[in-house]
Symmetry: D4
Subunit: 133 residues, 8 copies
């Protein structure tokens, strides 16, 4: 279990600040914490994602491995709420909902989104929360 | 404030599983959660970092922007303990301790580490915790 | 003590959405949760303030009583951090830092800010937290 | 998520202290924290509402926008308990239970009460708690 | 909501230390914290009850009002578990399970036990936890 | 450690409801939860004290043993704040601040108050919080 | 209720470090915290188990009494998840799932595992969590 | 960080129930949870230690490795309070206070007690709490 008052932060590239805010804040429902000329910082499910304006670092052909990020939810209802949000707001999906590691202890549901700068976001829900790590 | 029972997860490339475990577990003091033939998963300060064996994705000339990750600590003592650990265990430093945004509300201390696969880890401490995002 | 997962919400008028975001997000360090054509919603120190575009409801000559709102902090450091922020970012002050009810059990420090729509924000710190109500 | 030990405070006008106590304490089930000659302070669902005796500031024709306040509950049971309380104790309703933003992610249930000084209180419950802000 | 780390303490008379331990520890499932020649202290559902050897203070004809004490449970399952315990261990009941204030907001279930020194213990469960006070 | 959401409740006699509210709410800074013709219920430091109008049950010559009640504070600052409150508001003291069990592990500070119905309230602070029970 | 930030630690013998890691980390899903030449330390469900290389201390004919250790879960789902894990990963069982103290307040489910060094691990779930001690 | 509502349990041998209660409850300040003819169960700093009457399993010449147990405290004050308790109540010490792993990240203070059945109890305090595992 992590410390509630600390924050994980992740810096990633983006190619346009407005479309970044549109995706993370107005689509995904995160909060905008700060905005500078060269970056926006997002309160991403309680952690921090900083999107740096850096169009040349965009991956033109993104694959899930080895780079992606996201949240693993403890309660299924949070995962389901996110699935509904994705549908209602038509958030771009990279890999639709699927189950990984079926019939093992690590079995979990997953969906992968893609942001406007081709960063991949994976959200997961494990049947057994001890396997979240 | 983030939800204590959820987990942020980040997938990054590595080039050798043993040296990855050496760096994250035996140097940085994180816990090893799982190990497969192609990856190790780390309990990274309560969140999850998955290191995928993917030597071809290693960045040969890493820069801090736009990609890095880490923890922003709420309590200064946690940050100071990490600084001591870095010194005692001679963990590779990419950018030594410095202060960013001096004399602004966003003022914070930062140190950047580099893992064996050239991933950059930034740890931070803000004087005003409201600025952590 | 309040319930951490509930949210207090307050709706107030504003006269321009951009200046509202400027004041609450970029000055006061709150987070922008949502923005519509007629309102913005702010994550105000963990509670919700909704600023409705309603220029005709602006009070031209605001007084502290009977309408204002704000946060009473439990830890003095949070109050002090806010005072520093006000100074560094030159946030408009309506009533400078003062002490109210000196030598009574209800003694507390207070500062009153004014937002671009003449709404008054009072932030307080009580020596005895039992008196916060 | 807000800080459990801090308190949101809101100052509003009232026109009679006894009827204010009757409404907030004996009807709505809040707790009376303090009473002075010119005001009462209420522990309003864990936050603080201060009702200042100020009959001349009463809004004779209250509308929901742009000024109202209330609590957004995380658990539906808390919202339902309040609905039952309103019925049992016949608390004055300004707008009966309705659903706002149907079929969007922001969908929520709402009921609006009116206190003896024409202040409007809105209580809400969101299907997706991430949309509470 | 009360502070988890503080303790409510209540001192009551008892007429025999062994029978007191038998009732509170071995019947009611509380924990024995300390025992002196003239008293035992009990960890009573997380609070402290001190039973002082004082046979002359025993009330020969106990009534529920005005003196009794007990716990109001937030979760019904805790109340139900206690009811089962009372049945299984045949703990002396003063007033069997009943409902008080039916059809009001304050409606709650209650059971009253009697300890070997005629102290009365009331355990309650409210449908609406806001009415617990 | 006790469960934060449960409530300890204690019923005691009083001889006048107004003076009871005066003592518990306006002197001691507790909150008034409910008031009926025959009783008032107090949010007493997060627990519940119910004062039943029952003048004939008043103890004319109160002694500390075997009946009294109160709070044992975990943090010294809470105890000190209460001592200040007692002084500022001139709350009736039955036994001034003293130290009990000096030079033992159970050493603690204590002060005993007396309410208008001769109920005795003891507030304590232990150097070693493990001894609070 | 125990203190979340403290750790119970238990030192036990093992006869091979690799098989110890295999059992505790890769079978039982615990995390590896540290590994030295003569011991491994395990984050065992949030507490610490240190396995010291000490083959001569292995009990050749282990019995459940008087030495064993384990976790008593508060939520049944955690216990059930562990039962599933044991089945999926074919973790060695010493005593299959059984019920102890049927029809008493102390009734609980239990399963006993055996590690490669013949240490016995008991996991339990009580119907009434007050009986967990 | 461990789950507050779960309990670590440890079963150990003892040779006399009364002396076991004397040591754990009246010396060490733990709470007695249950007592049967063949065992006592102790609330040991929030976890559970069960002492089974099993004189033949007593280790006549106890050594610290490989079997011992105890608590690692997060806050130094808790460790210091225990040291004071040991002194005041003259609790039998097996190894006086010492420092282990000096000048490494794992540096910690430790004291080892011995119970009447020769079980060894180690209490520790780490400068860097991340090293507690």
């Amino acid at each position: 279990m992590r410390e509630q008052y600390n924050v994980f932060h992740l810096a990633i590239p983006c190619k346009d600040l407005d479309e970044t805010v549109e995706f993370y804040v107005f689509k995904l429902g995160c909060k905008l914490a700060r905005r500078y000329a060269d970056r926006v910082t997002i309160d991403f499910f309680g952690d921090q994602v900083v999107c740096h304006l850096n169009p040349e670092s965009i991956d033109p052909s993104p694959r899930l491995y080895p780079r992606h990020f996201g949240i693993t939810f403890r309660d299924k209802i949070e995962f389901d709420n996110l699935l509904k949000l994705i549908q209602i707001r038509e958030i771009p999906v990279f890999t639709p909902l699927f189950t990984r590691f079926t019939k093992t202890a690590e079995e979990h549901s997953s969906i992968v989104l893609i942001d406007p700068a081709n960063n991949l976001l994976e959200f997961k829900y494990y049947i057994d929360p001890r396997m979240m790590y």
